[in-house]
């Protein structure tokens, strides 16, 4: 099989939905700016790009009408570049990467832009017209709210509130430190808005303390342990990675970050969807022929502190190597954009921190996990 590499990563700043600096930016415009930024920083010839694959969890409204094609046109990609929107909720843009890898494997292209976008300001979670199947609603927890699943995981793994808050404080601390050290600037494409240029994340709360978090009310269950402070915030953002054959990347001097070693997807119980990364990571590591001990970098999406802690424990991850620059509790979780962000981030960190293997993995509403193993390229 051809070696497939991540040859570039870019994202928009992430901002809180509703009140953040990107609330008034259309998601298609937001993603188009990120894609232009990615092309600019990698130097890839857009005419060589086979397809633009965009992950989006709620592809309707301004994210509807096969938004990938629209984003391609907004980004001035050549007409010859395709456009496909992928929906696997939070796993959407990681799926975009995996689909590109598969297309390359069957000889259907050399270079793909795999992006993700979500404006949680402009398209609500659940969409504008949630119409659950009444029969399925009776027999399955598949429509359960995400917060409730986080409570279920906390309960099942006996993860107390203080532990969740400790993870949240650490996530905020790491993200704030990374930003202060200029470590986030490279990946961020400044976004032009009507209110001026936005070039930094608006989600990080550097002053977060355990005491402050301890004072918050439970957000989803009056008797529960999960609060707004231990959940990822509703976020606006877009991200993109360039996926190419290693041959193409080398020939065109693209900045190779890492090789995709293995991928996986795995279903799980909807009511504990936060545990999705456990089986998905196991499968991906098995396919890569490694164990958790071989991992040097891990990007584990922090949908909620409870599920992140459960996954760290169950997979056997090293917290010191997990979410080195902070996770989604601090950075934010624009659903469709997160997968490409953590793949791009894991690849960048592997390059920055050194080491051989990286894991990017996340849970998915409805009960799934998705994982990608990356390998350093000599």
């Amino acid at each position: 099989m051809q070696s497939v590499v991540i040859a570039g990563y870019a994202r928009s700043p992430f901002h809180l939905a509703g009140k953040g600096a990107l609330a008034r930016v259309r998601p298609d415009d937001l993603a188009a700016q990120v894609i232009r930024g990615l092309i600019g920083k990698t130097g890839v010839d857009p005419a060589d790009v086979e397809d633009l694959i965009v992950g989006c969890a709620f592809p309707e409204g301004e994210q509807g009408l096969n938004v990938a094609r629209l984003i391609g046109l907004l980004a001035d990609l050549p007409l010859s570049v395709g456009g496909m929107t992928v929906n696997r909720f939070c796993g959407s843009s990681m799926s975009a990467v995996q689909i590109a890898m598969g297309q390359i494997a069957v000889g259907a292209g050399d270079v793909f832009i795999c992006a993700g976008v979500e404006s949680m300001s402009r398209v609500p979670m659940m969409g504008f017209n949630p119409l659950p199947n009444p029969e399925l609603a009776k027999k399955s927890a598949v429509y359960m709210g995400m917060g409730e699943t986080a409570e279920n995981v906390a309960e099942k793994y006996q993860i107390g509130r203080a532990d969740q808050e400790a993870l949240a404080v650490e996530s905020q601390k790491r993200a704030a430190a990374a930003r202060a050290a200029g470590k986030l600037a490279d990946e961020i494409v400044p976004i032009e808005t009507r209110g001026g240029t936005v070039s930094e994340d608006g989600t990080i709360r550097p002053d977060t303390t355990a005491d402050a978090l301890a004072g918050l009310k439970p957000a989803f269950d009056a008797k529960g342990s999960v609060t707004a402070g231990t959940s990822s915030p509703l976020t606006d953002g877009a991200s993109a990675v360039l996926v190419a054959t290693e041959d193409y990347a080398r020939k065109h001097n693209l900045p190779i970050l890492a090789r995709i070693k293995s991928v996986s997807i795995s279903g799980c119980a909807p009511e504990t969807m936060g545990l999705g990364p456990i089986e998905a990571s196991r499968k991906a590591m098995e396919r890569a022929g490694i164990t958790a001990a071989d991992l040097d970098v891990v990007e584990l999406n922090e949908a909620f502190a409870s599920q992140a802690l459960a996954c760290i424990k169950d997979i056997g991850l090293d917290p010191a190597k997990t979410n080195i620059d902070g996770g989604a509790i601090a950075i934010g979780h624009p659903l469709g954009a997160t997968g490409a962000r953590i793949v791009g981030k894991a690849a960048s960190l592997l390059k920055r921190e050194g080491g051989r293997y990286a894991l990017a993995t996340q849970c998915i509403g409805g009960g799934q996990g998705i994982a990608t193993i990356l390998e350093a390229v000599e």
Partner: protein, 776 residues
């Protein structure tokens, strides 16, 4: 100078009054510049004005009627931004009550303002003549006093004082803006200390405090006497002082004793009380402080009301005093002051001298008795003004008792003799003037009161709960007349009788009444009676009758305009939803609150709300968004806090009108109705595409989230499930068309199912008993 339109206002001084006045200007939709001084420390030079706006956004009751209004306030400081006064047509000064500071500011203003831009002071104590010392003639022409009451959004009184040099056009422009745009009722006062309302109010409070100390009354009994039996709010005197701040009293006293003429009666009663001085010194300044004459004490059993013992100076549990009874409790002032014992003695001590004092202020402080009465009704929320009270007590009786006590009898009382200060002649309300003659009470142009019409005519139709009045020009008004303007079968009957009458003889209908509350909704007491005897047939008849009457209004061949003010909830909201248009008072508190009593809207409110929601601007397409929006509002029994918010909640349509001045509401509604007469065609019945069972499940999921968070009770889930079923169209499939009649049937059937539930009945009972919802 001719009257100029006011398009932008500047308020200088961002304290409670200045900021509140600025908010009310913004509530009128007019841009306002709010300036204060530069703070001594800190880098933000606009911090004081900005802080005032931020604070107002968190204040309850809210000074702003909407968030959009808050955006009309531009903040700044008087060092950097005073030249912006040149953009403004009216400058309101509301800075600290110090003559030197005010005069210094005016000197600066004179240099930057345009000629003709009105400048007014919100002073409550400083004479106009002193304020304009040293200013040019041109400045004096543009200067007047506009004295607002706190809080400026909610208190309707504005006292205006003009000086000898004030230009009539400038004053007229300010008055018109204050009246029409800001909704204030203007009372003209003379340039005398305290003007009208606070002069009488301070005197009255001082009398009440003195007499309670002297006679050894409990504060509870004092307030029970000098409260509702006199037509005064139930805070009485001590409760009122707690509300405005006990520490304000010495300031008022000092100011009035320094400025009132030596022969003023106030000097004889002005005194301090050691207990009050001690309370102020220790921070017991009322509701804003550690407590006042009353306080809420917290202990392990929860909150407990306490009151201070005036003799011992200590708090003790509040008591329920044995106050006035019989006619004395119900507004018979003569019976009240003649009650034997301490109640009658206290009532007389407070009322007799207050009324005499007020009567003595014509013509020195006010031109006529109407100004005095309006000032006290609007500035202190008295149900009747001093002269109206004297009419009930008897002018001759009052004069006689004063004389017997060796007290001076004011000139106005002598002029009245055995007559009353007001009387109605040929349907016209008239007042007694200084000349001993009666004069018409003249309303400003555009002010129409149903009370005036009722004096001059007989109803076209009338029963126990409603009446129909000819309000002129072919327009009739439907008035609710029951307790709290509750709605029942009689109201529906009258509506059905009115429709053919209006169709044959009139042009349009306005639904209006003069009361503080437009309607509290269906008569729950009657409903409960029917529930208790399981008269299900009667209840279903009432539901069906209401649906029929409201749809009758909607499809009547003439325009129907709803003109609500104050509370309009439940069925009172639903009748508005069926009107062709609404002209609302800015203070409109409307909502569908049925879920709070375990029911759902049953008089067509569900369909009307879905229709409004799906026509709302920016509403996403598809079957769910409009239904979900209505579910969110109705399941939580959300009530608007203003007419502007009622638009946001979709109870009002974007094109519905808002009247700021309560007195202008009927006139504005009538004009709106008349404007719709030509070429009027009734609306076509809507049809709906509803999400059916899938939508029902989605709404229940949202409600379940609320329950999990502890925001909804188990029975809330039962009620919201019923509401969700109706709003999503019951068994209807997404591709079915649901008619308005189908939806009414579903609403009625679901209502009838809920109304039999014991927990709904318990909610109704609890609401009737306590006025509060039962969270079962």
């Amino acid at each position: 100078m001719s009257e100029q339109a006011i398009r932008k206002v500047c308020v200088i001084g961002a304290g409670t009054m200045g900021a509140g006045i600025a908010a009310q200007v913004a509530n009128a939709g007019v841009p306002v510049l709010l300036l204060d001084i530069v703070p001594k420390d800190g880098s933000n030079r606009n911090a004081i004005a900005e802080g005032a706006v931020a604070k107002m956004l968190k204040t309850e009751p809210a000074p702003f009627m909407s968030k959009a209004a808050a955006r009309l306030v531009e903040t700044g400081n008087i060092e950097d931004h005073l030249e912006k006064v040149a953009e403004c047509d009216w400058v309101i000064e509301a800075v600290i009550e110090r003559l030197d500071i005010k005069q210094g500011l005016y000197a600066k203003l004179e240099a930057v303002k345009r000629p003709g831009t009105a400048v007014s002071s919100n002073t409550s104590t400083i004479p106009l003549a002193n304020l304009v010392e040293g200013r040019s003639d041109a400045f004096r022409r543009d200067f007047l006093i506009t004295h607002f009451f706190n809080p400026p959004r909610y208190m309707r009184l504005l006292e205006i004082v003009t000086g000898p040099a004030t230009d009539a056009g400038v004053a007229a422009a300010v008055e018109r803006f204050a009246d029409v745009a800001m909704g204030k009722t203007v009372v003209h006062a003379k340039d005398t200390p305290g003007f009208i309302a606070n002069r009488i109010g301070t005197y009255w409070i001082q009398l009440g405090l003195n007499a309670a100390f002297d006679m050894g009354l409990s504060v509870e009994l004092a307030d029970a006497v000098a409260g509702p039996p006199m037509g005064v709010p139930k805070t009485g005197i001590f409760g009122l002082v707690d509300l405005v701040g006990i520490d304000l009293m010495p300031h008022l006293q000092e100011s009035l004793t320094a400025t009132l003429p030596d022969d003023d009666q106030y000097h004889a009663i002005a005194q301090s009380h050691p207990l009050i001085d001690k309370m102020i010194a220790e921070g017991f300044t009322g509701r804003k402080g550690k407590g006042g004459f009353y306080r809420l004490a917290r202990d392990t059993d929860g909150r407990r009301k306490e009151a201070i013992d005036l003799a011992a100076g200590e708090y003790r549990p509040a008591i329920k005093p044995l106050g006035p009874t019989g006619p004395a409790a119900r507004g018979d002032l003569r019976a009240l002051v003649e009650t034997k014992g301490v109640i009658g003695d206290y009532a007389w001590a407070v009322l007799g001298d207050t009324l005499a004092y007020a009567a003595g202020l014509v013509p020195s402080a006010a031109a006529d008795v109407v100004a005095i009465d309006d000032a006290m009704k609007l500035g202190y929320n008295w149900k009747a003004g001093p002269f109206e009270m004297i009419d009930r007590l008897g002018a001759k009786y009052l004069a006689g008792r004063l004389e017997a006590e060796g007290k001076p009898v004011p000139q106005m009382l002598r002029i009245a003799g055995e007559r009353t200060f007001y009387r109605v002649e040929n349907g016209q309300r008239r007042f007694l003037g200084l000349d001993g003659e009666y004069h018409d009470v003249v309303r400003p142009e555009g002010v129409l009161r149903l009370a005036d019409i009722k004096l001059a005519s007989k109803p076209l139709l009338k029963n126990a709960s409603a009446a129909l009045w000819d309000v002129g020009d072919g327009v009739v008004a439907l008035e609710f007349t029951g307790k709290m303007n509750a709605l029942d079968g009689d109201v529906m009957k009258l509506i059905l009788q009115a429709i053919p009458l209006i169709q044959s003889q009139y042009k349009a209908l306005v639904i209006y009444n003069d009361a503080d509350s437009f309607s509290a909704g269906a008569n729950l007491g009657l409903a409960l009676f029917a529930l208790n005897i399981a008269a299900w047939g009667e209840i279903e008849k009432l539901v069906a009758g209401g649906q029929m009457a409201y749809k009758g209004l909607k499809y009547a061949p003439f325009p129907v305009v709803g003109a609500p003010a104050g509370l309009a909830v439940g069925g009172g909201c639903e009748i508005l939803l069926h009107c062709d248009a609404i002209q609302a008072h800015a203070e409109l508190y409307t909502g569908l609150v049925e879920c709070g009593v375990g029911l759902i809207p049953g008089w067509g409110g569900n369909g009307e709300m879905i229709e409004r929601a799906r026509n709302a601007k920016m509403m996403p397409k598809g079957p769910m968004p409009s239904v979900a929006k209505v579910f969110e509002t109705v399941s939580t029994a959300t009530v608007s806090k203003s007419a502007a918010e009622a638009k946001e909640l979709l109870f009002l349509r974007p094109e519905d009108g808002i009247t700021m001045n309560r007195d202008r509401l009927l006139h504005d509604a009538k004009q709106k109705a008349l404007s719709m007469v030509e070429g009027y065609t009734p609306p076509e019945a809507p049809t709906f595409r509803l999400p059916g069972e899938s939508g029902h499940v989605a709404l229940n999921m949202a409600a379940e989230g609320f329950r999990k968070r502890g925001l909804a009770t188990d029975y809330d889930m039962v009620v919201s499930d019923a509401l969700a079923r109706v709003l999503s169209g019951g068994e209807a499939d997404l591709v079915d068309t649901v008619s308005e009649q189908d939806l009414l049937g579903l609403e009625r059937e679901t209502f009838m199912r809920l109304v039999r539930e014991p927990r709904s009945i318990a909610r109704v009972e609890h609401m009737l008993g306590t006025g509060k919802p039962l969270r079962n």
